[in-house]
């Protein structure tokens, strides 16, 4: 087209008057949104990585690059290993329970009964509440003076459960709230997986004389494996960077019981003004999530291929 214009030719009967220096901007316009998104995502991330190798404190006017000093301090500090245990303990236990419960709920909802139809609509209710509000609601239910939880548990001799107030029960309490909020999410995804399984596979298994457990192991589980991995991926990433439930429950207490990476990063950055150290915690958290996500994605690809075969 540019050559035509230089020769003074016409296109579709119209004279072409474009300048010889005309630049084709179309690709730039097409790539611009992706570029903006990339910059939007990468800039804060890059900034956090930079801060993590500095002594940046909110109260210090001059930022000095200190290399890996923050990381060395973190890895040599017992508090880091505690927060690692909290981060992994919370994520693994919450996701494991949610997967088992989600599977059971999905199997129950995959029936043609009136109750299953009604429950399919109701089960999403916890997902519609912000996690912080859900946590506050649970705190009210677990209140020692007027909460309903201990009242309901009193017939079982559990009238004085301390829930989030004790270092021994705070983490299980946080996991319980996480499970309450996110199990429906897993159940719905798995339900979609169950609905995608061809009935002919069950019919063939039945003809072969398979038991219900055998059908579950040989047909259901392999078929929904990619869905299970996707659920694990989503929930594991979310749980590894959890903040809202842990902070809303006890602000991370008692003591530092619920200080996972994110809560520790919050205290270091905001309360203690130590942005450099807080950023290092966030970068470590990101690295763990990244490695785990990559592993889960390659596992998912394998499972998808096996399910399709």
């Amino acid at each position: 087209m540019a050559l035509n214009a230089q020769r003074g030719e016409t296109v579709a009967g119209r004279p072409v008057t474009a300048s010889p220096r005309r630049v084709n901007l179309e690709p730039l316009f097409l790539i611009a949104p992706a570029l903006v998104v990339c910059i939007g995502i990468l800039y804060p991330f890059g900034l956090a990585v930079f801060y993590s190798i500095t002594n940046y404190s909110l109260t210090l006017p001059i930022i000095k690059v200190t290399g890996l000093r923050n990381y060395a301090y973190i890895f040599s500090n017992a508090d880091f290993w505690h927060s690692t245990a909290v981060t992994l303990g919370y994520a693994v236990s919450a996701v494991a329970i949610e997967l088992v419960l989600g599977m059971i709920v999905a199997l129950l909802l995959d029936r043609d009964t009136l109750l299953a139809k009604v429950m399919r609509g109701l089960i999403i209710l916890p997902l519609m509440i912000a996690p912080v509000l859900g946590t506050l609601m649970w705190k009210l239910m677990m209140d020692p003076s007027f909460g309903v939880a201990n009242f309901l548990l009193s017939p079982f001799g559990l009238r004085n459960l301390t829930w989030g107030d004790s270092p021994y029960t705070a983490l299980p309490t946080a996991v319980l709230i996480d499970v309450w909020i996110y199990t429906p999410f897993i159940a719905l995804l798995l339900l979609a997986g169950l609905r995608s399984i061809s009935p002919s596979l069950y019919e063939a298994a039945e003809v072969d004389g398979a038991t219900p457990w055998g059908m579950f192991r040989a047909v259901t589980l392999p078929a929904i494996a990619p869905y299970l991995i996707v659920c694990t991926l989503f929930r594991m990433v979310d749980s590894l960077r959890a903040f809202d439930i842990l902070f809303a429950l006890t602000k991370g207490g008692p003591g530092n019981t619920l200080w996972n990476y994110q809560v520790t990063a919050y205290y270091q950055t905001i309360t203690f003004s130590n942005v450099g150290l807080g950023s290092a915690y966030m970068v470590i958290n990101w690295a763990i999530i990244y490695i785990l996500s990559q592993a889960l994605v390659s596992w998912w690809n394998g499972a998808k291929d096996r399910a399709a075969a």
Partner: protein, 491 residues
Amino acid sequence: MDHIDELCASLAHGDTSRREFIAKASKAGLGAALTGTLLAMYSPSAQARENAQQLAANGPAGSFDHKKYAGRKVHLRLSKHPYVDALTPDIAKFKELTGIDVTYDITPEEQYFDKLKLGLSQKSSDFDVCMVGAYMTWEYGPAGWLEDLKPFIADANKTAPEFDAADIYPNVLKNDSWSGTPGDLPGTGDAKQWALPWGWEINVLTYRQDILKKHNLAVPRSYDEIATVAAKLKTLEPKLIPFLARGKLSWDTIHPGYLSAFNAYGAKDFDKSLKPTMNSPEAVAFTEKFMSILKDSGPPAGRWTGYGVFDMGAAMGAGDVVMYHDATSLGFFQDLPGASKVGGQGKMAWAPSPGKTGTTGSNIWVWSLGLNSGSASKDAAWLFMQWASGKEHLLYAATQHGHVDTVRKSVFNNPKYQARIAAHVGYSDTFRKQAPISAIYFTPQPLFFTETTNWAGTLQDIYSGKVTAKAGLDKLASDVSNELSQRGITK
């Protein structure tokens, strides 16, 4: 001229206040010196005439003009608080007096300091004046986030003649000033005035007098007596919490009753060389005593760590608690008629801060107004600050609203205010006794929040039995020492 005559007559008869007189005289174009002279001649009281004579003699004070910044705008960053509820309806008076427009944002207290800190540290010009606590100024002031107010106070062109700094409780004003040298006590050395006191809280014993009377129990004056009375109450009133204190994982768990009594039992947070001493034998002994009371006679089933300041107020209001050692005003709002289950019935009462052997001073919390160094309207903002902490607004706020525990002696001694607080048993007497002998007992240093948040976590661990008081406080002292050293504050 007739107008001026009328104005003077009105002042002499007490129909016009000094402030109104100054404003109207300024409007009429009277010079400052003449205004001061007229005040000296026509003020109704001898003291006011004397003040005005000084004002006239000092000359430059008269050059102050309320309308100098008319048309400017000042934005306030505020925390949700009864003081703010008293301020907002009165702002129109300031606007009328100065012609300055005032806007504000209000954030719940639990989130307020995070928001404020981020704004100040980014040198945001979104706000000009903010609410701060004296402890916060130890971090915010030396970091250059707040303006030193001393030059403003000293400048007669910027400070209204009616602003009377001597009327503010001197220990409160002093506690808002600090040199910036870690370990220096407030008000010592080359101290800068980082904020202006607005309201303060003395930590005293708030208790249910009806219950103590019912069982013929004396009001405890020490923590040993609290332990005895609380143990008896546990049997006598099994449905009530005999004694309560703040227990959440937050810096504010340390400063009220715990630190007040900690100090009374001879313990300190640091020594003069800024070496942490919160693990001294006195500190360990008192902490063991404090924890033992909370475990034996505190909230049931290990619940103490769930109680923050508002939970405690609510528990007292609901009639669930017999005693707590905390801010004077916390119970005041519950004691108002209709405000709570026990309010307005003379059931609650106040007594001085329990110490080791009897009445002792208490640690104080000072709600103050700070001037953002990123502000583009500092002079107009200063005008607002002096008005908001001035006699007229504080008297209105204390008598018409909930701005109790006033920082101004004149407001406290005002008959209207005394009449207002008379219904709250022991409130006035307790305040009168405690005010002169109370102060901040923390040692100022910029890692205040690191120290106190970790301290609260340590108390939670001691309470739950994870560590002993000695082991917990030893680790805390060691951690704080390392942190101070790592940040280059100590060697």
